[in-house]
Amino acid sequence: MVGETLRNYLMIAWLLPLAGFVVEIFFGFYSKNPRHSKAAAWCAVGCIGAGFLCSCAALVTWGNANDWCALEHHDSHGEHADAGHETAGHEHGEHAAGDHHVAEPAHNAAAAGEDHGHEHAVAAASGDAADHDDHASGSQQTTYSGVLYTLGKFGSLELSLDYYIDSLTLVMFTMVTLIATCIHLFAMGYMSEELTDEYVDHQAHTSDGKHVHRPGRFYRFFAFLSLFCFAMLGLVLAGNIFQVFIFWELVGICSFLLIGFYTERKSASNAANKAFIMNRVGDFGFLIGLMVLWTFFGTFRFGDTTNAEGVVAEQGLFSMVHRDEATGNFLTEPITGDVLITDNHGHALQQDGQNRSIPYYLLVVAGLGVFAGCVGKSAQFPLQTWLPDAMEGPTPVSALVHSATMVAAGVYLTGRFFPMFVQEVLLTIAYIGCITLFVAATIAVVATDIKKVLAYSTISQLGYMMLGLGVFGWGAGLFHLITHAFFKSLMFLCSGSVIHGCHHEQEMPKMGGLLKKMPITAITMLVGVCAIAGFPMLFGLHFSGFHSKDAIVASALAFMKANPSHFLLFFIPLLTAGITAFYMFRLWFYTFWGTPRDHHVHEHAHESPWIMTVPLLILAPLAWLCAYGGESGPLYLMLTGDAPSHLANGVAAATEGGLVMPGHEAVHAVHIQAGLLALAAAFSGALIAYILYGTNLVNVEQMKNQLSGIHGFLANKWHFDDLYDALFMKPAHKVAAFCAWFDKTVFDSILHGSAKLVVLVSQWDRIFDEKVVDGFVNLLGTSTQSVGRSFKVVQTGRLRQYVMFIVLGVVALFAVVFTTFPG
């Protein structure tokens, strides 16, 4: 019942933007005056806004259905006592961590002793709807999954569109719809220049050097935005990994359309292509992962499906691999070491009288494959280069698609698919995240385009999230996903406001001193900058980034302590926290502080209209406060309410990969330590930024010249683009050209050659060589012709010769008979 209600709410929220898309597209064609009407925009806003309301309603429904147990539950786990989460506002993260710290021994005992309370905790926290059947009563269902409709059914295999609703889904829904609504509103102002019949695109030139003039495309922009929202929400709602893949591609194509919105600009269409193709490279890995899963599990569903009686009809992926509750390891076949595929009770499933199993390495392949998709989508190393280029799209697109939602989908999927990842995969995730966050941050330091800085910052922050997930900080990674979505979309919108105010000037060196001209933008931007830098406390409330980044760093630290050889996974993020603060404050100071560097720009700068500032004013408090309460706050608790089961406790023993999974207690134990280190890094970064850019104490240009080697390396984005160009693009085109050539020449010439052979064999005179050969049929033609001509030679027209041939013919015939006749 609850499941259906939830499903209906979320489906409305999901499908409304699709309806909006259709209406807007048709409006564009059939409306009398689409170029001047904002109707399309209002339609889009209405759809996504209604979607937000539906998401909220769903959230409430879900909470009510299980008495908000997710929020309570976590605390009872920590201390077996009511921590009073409703009023936990005054408690800070450190405090909460401390509490957990105290509780650690008790928890360990619980883990060892398998006491009832612990088991209960595992059951309720596991993502499996069915788990509660066989565990103690009293726990409530928090996950709802089911089938929407079947795509195809082949014997026992079935592919369908499903839904899978748990707390993560709901939080994501709410976040996406809320941010999207704000951005839609903002875009209405930002894109208003398109409301004309004669839009002049200053960045696109015709061959005679003039600017391109074209009709405005206001409605089309909103149509694409709506389509994107539909795809993104579908991705979140997806109940199976295949469905995720479907919407994965759809958000990709929407991203393609939106990046390439200014179709006249070559750079835009190049960027769009690059984005899509690099994503496809990731999707190639994703596809391999899907193939492995499909072959061995025969299903893509996350959760189990139940029939009308509530009995499990078909198992989902998550319940097919059971982990040993003591060690967190998979159940394996004793002899081969293959991972067993099990039923809900942890018993191996049978097929043809044998246990079904999957080789461990293929589980690694599957995990890496799915993660490859995430690498593409979330612009992780080595596929990170498309995201900065994607800034060619209009700024609201960057805010929505390329910071808050789509690029976060990779992280979302990594989180969603967490139960299936084995240690090796997680370690890879952690290292990829680690590399990415560092590389991107260093490039951001030297970037001068305001949007590019934000883009690199996005990549870097996504790296943090991946790192968090990789070091078993499931909650931390996703926590950062949400907080980042708010503050980064805020910052993008602010940058959009700046760009709008400065008449499409994006270069920071031409800005400066905009604080007075654009106060709202500057202040809201500052909120975002503080949030991303991870600053604590403003009016007694921490910035959201502080909580979430702390959580990640703490996870990393705990992981390092448990696995000392992976110390880089802690130190690099720590260092990067400082860099992050540095480049973000650099951006702010560069743009808003100091004296104007380009007077032309400065004179014409103005604050944006209300329709653009209102979204900023809505998002700023959210960016500041959304993580309210930190790890004992409602957001975190909601998120982790349905955390994968094996993460709930953590284990002390080494797992298959030789890694030790730090438990919650371990994380809490190092929380303060990590927090202080991160804080120190952030403050020092910010301080350097202030010194360099906020004051005139140091000549930045001089420094740049002194460090020109490094600067050049960074400004060229570590030469990744050149590398890929040399490694893949050029060879691909070469091979392609070769194939085309091969097709034209070699293939045909094989046939030509055989024809030629015939010619050679039957070459009775020299005429053949005179012919110039071109084309297969021509050649076969000419060759038959040549053969024919050689036959012609026989037909001399001389009667006596003909008669001779009678004799010769008899002899030949006789020879044939005598040779074939057996005796």
């Binding site: 014997g155 596809l287 194939c739």
Partner: protein, 533 residues
């Protein structure tokens, strides 16, 4: 109208239309056009009627017609549909109808063109509906004749070369098929030789009541190879695909639509209707080759497409690439130690392949049409001399983008389902080939997006005849919209096709497993007797 008569009507209605056309005055161009359109629409309606009367739950042949034709040789006029042929029959009539609308752009010898066009439709329908090998072969070759002229007379600058090449390849394939046909005929039981495809298929699995003897396992392999080459030429598969780019490029737009939309499907259909059920042992034997050829076709076609500068040639090579999936899907029959492993995966592959055929029929026909629309205006196809069409022809560009995305395999559009289902079923067969096949998605995205960029995006149109670029007219738009709408519907609700095929493909898989077992037992028995001696 009885269902049985319906089949005959579907086949011969276009031919009758062609006869009627022959008495219309050649100068009454519009009368000829509308008359042909009427005939194709009527045929389409007839196929829809067939669809409505079709029973999804029946695995076997429905509406079977069986009339003695040349009893001396046991040749029958035998027609019928099942879940495998029905989708293709409907596709054929649909694509024919749409390309008839597209044929308005034909500007010479209208009467001859439309007569041949209708004859071609008769041929295609005949192939899909006939259940007698001889009849099948007759229709198979019948298609060749109008096609030769349609390319050769109404084609582009190198039409004669292209037409001859097409003729040559197909005829060569036909000869091989003919030999295989004789093998089946003479080896089908005792005195009663038979061309009956259904009975022969039963005989192959040892369940026929009428046919006693059958090909020995080793002959099955020979027969399969002969048939396969014949069908692979039509499909077309690497390395016998070289006729296709020429034929496609030189053919007039509607004929390219038919070629891509229907004719290529005949190859796949032939494999699934004849080569597979009639030689299960041969199919199992050659399965790896099938999949490998499919994989090579995918990659090779995509790479070749990437290098093209001719818009139509690019689309033509994309067909080579896309049809590779069909081969893969059909071939993923994994047998270890004599038993089929995970046959549901193979079933999925076959279904995916069938779906891919239909989907490619829609998307590829659409792509060719879109190329034709712009070609009609500017009379060139050089990819580097386009650009900026999005601004000049927005509706056209939007629809074209949709259809090209369908070709690219974008979810929600028809191309995706076939490709992905096939690829998913491949790992079970061979991880290596699966990975290579999957890498095709990157190349596909590469060449399609690059083409889109060069043609539709950009600041301005760079080629000649800029002044002739006018917006799409209603006739052109209707064709494109219908195709795109179908692409979306099939992409979102693939069950429409899968439900239709389900019973038949399942039965096919079962009978082939049985057939393989049957032949394998024979081989084993032979080996045993050898050992005994």
């Amino acid at each position: 109208m009885t269902p049985e008569f319906l089949l005959t009507a579907i086949i011969f209605l276009p031919a009758i239309g062609a006869l009627v056309l022959s008495i219309i005055d050649g100068k009454a161009v519009d009368a000829i056009r509308f008359m042909s359109l009427g005939v194709t629409i009527a045929t389409f309606v007839l196929t829809l009627m067939l669809w409505m009367q079709f029973d999804y739950e029946t695995a076997g042949i429905q509406f079977e017609v069986s009339k003695a034709w040349i009893p001396n040789w046991n040749i029958f006029y035998r027609l019928g549909v099942d879940g495998i042929s029905l989708p293709l029959v409907v596709l054929t009539s649909l694509v024919s109808m749409l390309s008839c609308v597209a044929s308005w752009s034909i500007n010479k010898l209208h009467k001859g063109y439309f007569m041949l066009f209708l004859l071609l439709e008769t041929g295609m329908m005949g192939v899909f509906l006939s259940l007698d090998f001889f009849l099948f072969f007759v229709f198979w070759e019948v298609m060749l004749l109008p096609m030769y002229f349609l390319i050769g007379v109404w084609g582009g600058p190198r039409k004669e070369y292209a037409a001859l090449k097409f003729f040559l390849y197909t005829l060569a394939g036909g000869v091989l098929m003919l030999i295989a046909m004789l093998m089946f005929y003479f080896n089908s039981g005792g005195t009663e030789h038979s061309f009956n495809l259904i009975e022969l298929a039963k005989a192959a699995s040892g369940t026929s009541d009428h046919i006693t003897g059958f090909l020995s396992p080793s002959m099955q392999i020979t027969a399969f190879v002969l048939l396969f080459i014949g069908f692979a030429i039509k499909l077309p598969a690497f390395p016998v695909h070289t006729w296709l780019p020429d034929a496609h490029v030189e053919a007039p737009t509607p004929i390219s639509m038919i070629l891509a939309g229907v004719l290529l499907k005949l190859g796949g259909y032939g494999i699934i209707r004849i080569a597979f059920p009639l030689c299960p042992y041969g199919a199992a034997y050659a399965a790896y080759a099938l999949v490998a050829i499919g994989v090579i076709s995918i990659i090779y076609g995509a790479l070749a497409a990437l290098a093209q500068t001719d818009f139509k040639r690019l689309v033509a090579y994309s067909s080579v690439s896309h049809m590779g999936y069909v081969l893969i899907g059909l071939g993923v029959w994994k047998i270890t130690e004599g038993t089929t492993v995970n046959s549901d995966m193979w079933l999925m592959g076959i279904n995916g392949a069938m779906f891919q055929m239909v989907a490619h029929g829609i998307s590829s026909a659409g792509m060719f049409f879109m190329v034709g629309v712009i070609y009609d205006r500017v009379h060139h196809r050089d990819l580097n001399k386009f650009g900026g069409l999005m601004g000049l022809m927005p509706l056209y560009s939007g629809l074209a983008a949709g259809l090209f995305f369908a070709g690219l395999g974008l979810p929600g559009l028809c191309g995706f389902i076939g490709e992905i289902f096939v690829v998913l079923s491949t790992w079970n067969y061979s991880p290596l080939l699966a990975i290579i096949a999957a890498s095709g998605v990157i190349l596909t995205a590469g060449y399609i997006l690059w083409a889109l960029q060069r043609v539709y995006l950009g600041a301005e149109y760079k080629g000649p005849h800029k002044e002739d670029i006018t917006r799409m007219n209603a006739r052109e738009a209707s064709v494109a919209i219908v195709l795109l709408a179908i692409a979306i519907v099939l992409g979102v609700f693939p069950g429409i096709i899968f439900d239709m095929m389900h019973a038949s493909t399942s039965a096919l898989v079962e009978s082939m497993k049985l057939g393989y077992q049957h032949a394998a037992d024979l081989v084993k028995a032979a080996a045993d007797t050898q050992a005994m001696r």
